[in-house]
C-alpha cells in the first residue's frame, strides 16, 4: 500500500509542520561553493558527471551567498581570506550550515605556518568536519547526507530566536 493508495482512499495525510518543512529543506540543500584551493577541485569533481551531486538535490551551485543554504568551505583559509569567508557567511540567509571540507579547513592540517588559520572554527560555527586531504568525493557526498539528516531533524522553532545581525555601517555616505 503506497502513498497514492492512502491518498486515494482518505484524501489527506497527517504530519507535523516540522516533518514537512524538514523534508522539503533537506532535499534541496543549495551549496555555496567556497572553493579556495585543492579541495575546491575535488568539489568540482563532485559536481561532475561521475559523482553527480544532482542525485542529492544539491546541483544548484550558486556563487551568490543570498541563494544558499550550506557553505562548503573547501580549501586552506588564510588570515587574509578569513575576512572574506566571514563576510560571505554573514550574507547567507538563515538557516545556514557550514561544512569544513578537508583537514586544513578543519584544523590547519599540514600547514602549520604563520599565515594559515588553524581551523575555521576560530571564526565560524562549523557543522561538519570532513577529514581527508582532500576528502574523496564519496566522502563529501556522505557529509552532505549527514547535513540532510541534521536538517531533517531540526525543529522549525529552533530558528525563532536567532539574533538579527548588526546593521552594517557604510562609512562616508
Amino acid at each position: 500500500m503506497g502513498l497514492e493508495a492512502k491518498l486515494m482512499s482518505d484524501g489527506f495525510l497527517t504530519t507535523t509542520i516540522d516533518a514537512l518543512v524538514g523534508w522539503a529543506r533537506e532535499s534541496s540543500v543549495w551549496p555555496m561553493p567556497m572553493g579556495i584551493s585543492c579541495c575546491g577541485i575535488e568539489m568540482m569533481a563532485v559536481a561532475g558527471p561521475k559523482y553527480d551531486i544532482a542525485r542529492f538535490g544539491s546541483e544548484v551551485m550558486r556563487f551568490t551567498p543570498r541563494q544558499c543554504d550550506v557553505m562548503l568551505v573547501a580549501g586552506t583559509v588564510t588570515y587574509k581570506m578569513s575576512h572574506v569567508v566571514k563576510k560571505i557567511y554573514d550574507q547567507m540567509p538563515d538557516p545556514k550550515w557550514v561544512i569544513a571540507m578537508g583537514v586544513c579547513t578543519s584544523t590547519g592540517g599540514m600547514y602549520r605556518s604563520y599565515s594559515v588559520v588553524q581551523g575555521i572554527d576560530h571564526f565560524l560555527p562549523v557543522d561538519i568536519y570532513l577529514a581527508g586531504c582532500p576528502p574523496r568525493p564519496d566522502n563529501l557526498l556522505n557529509a552532505l547526507m549527514l547535513i540532510q539528516d541534521k536538517i531533517k531533524n531540526t525543529k522549525a522553532r529552533e530558528f525563532q530566536n536567532i539574533p538579527l545581525l548588526e546593521p552594517v555601517k557604510v562609512n562616508g555616505n
Binding site: Y79, K80, K86, Y114, S115, F123
Partner: protein, 162 residues
C-alpha cells in the same frame, strides 16, 4: 667555445675594475659581484649580441643570519637563444638593506622584487610600485627572515569576530 666559458671573460672585459666571483656547482654557473653594479651588468648581459639574456626568471634573497653581509640577492636569468641559465648574486647589508631595481632592464622583475620585499624587507630603489605582494599592507614583519618564527607572532594578523 661554449657559451658558459664566454660569459665571464666578456664581463671582465667590460668591467675591468670589478671582482667577479664565479662558482660552478652541479653545472649551474653563479657570478657574484658588487651590489652597486647590478643594473649595468644586467644591461650588458641583456644587450650583448651573443649572450642575450632576455628573460628574468626569478629574483629572490637568501638570509644568512649573519652580522655582516646578511642578505644575498639572487637573480636567475635565461637566454632563450643560447638556452642557458645564469645566476647573479649580490650581497647587501643588514641595516637598511637596499639594491637598485632591475625593472628597467627586465620588466618581469617587477613582481619578483615585490615578493622579495614582502618576504625579506629589502628595498628596491626606483621600483615603480613597491608594495607587499602576499601579506596585508599593514603587516609589520618580514616572514622569511630567519628570526621570524614559523607560527608567526601571536596577534600580528587579525581574525574576524566570531
Amino acid at each position: 667555445m661554449e657559451i658558459k666559458d664566454k660569459i665571464v671573460p666578456l664581463l671582465q672585459e667590460q668591467f675591468p675594475e670589478t671582482n667577479f666571483e664565479v662558482t660552478d656547482f652541479r653545472g649551474d654557473l653563479k657570478i657574484k659581484f658588487d651590489a652597486s653594479l647590478i643594473v649595468p651588468v644586467g644591461n650588458f648581459l641583456k644587450q650583448h649580441d651573443e649572450l642575450k639574456f632576455n628573460m628574468c626568471e626569478d629574483v629572490t634573497a637568501v638570509d644568512w643570519a649573519t652580522k655582516k653581509k646578511r642578505f644575498t640577492i639572487i637573480y636567475h636569468i635565461y637566454s632563450l637563444e643560447n638556452k642557458f641559465r645564469l645566476r647573479l648574486a649580490c650581497d647587501v647589508e643588514e641595516n637598511h638593506p637596499h639594491i637598485e631595481s632591475v625593472v628597467p632592464v627586465w620588466k618581469s622583475a617587477n613582481w619578483y622584487e615585490r615578493e622579495t620585499y614582502d618576504m625579506y624587507g629589502i628595498k628596491f630603489d626606483n621600483h615603480p610600485d613597491l608594495r607587499r605582494m602576499y601579506m596585508p599592507e599593514e603587516y609589520e614583519y618580514y616572514p622569511l627572515r630567519k628570526e621570524y618564527p614559523l607560527m608567526g607572532i601571536p596577534g600580528d594578523l587579525t581574525l574576524p569576530k566570531k
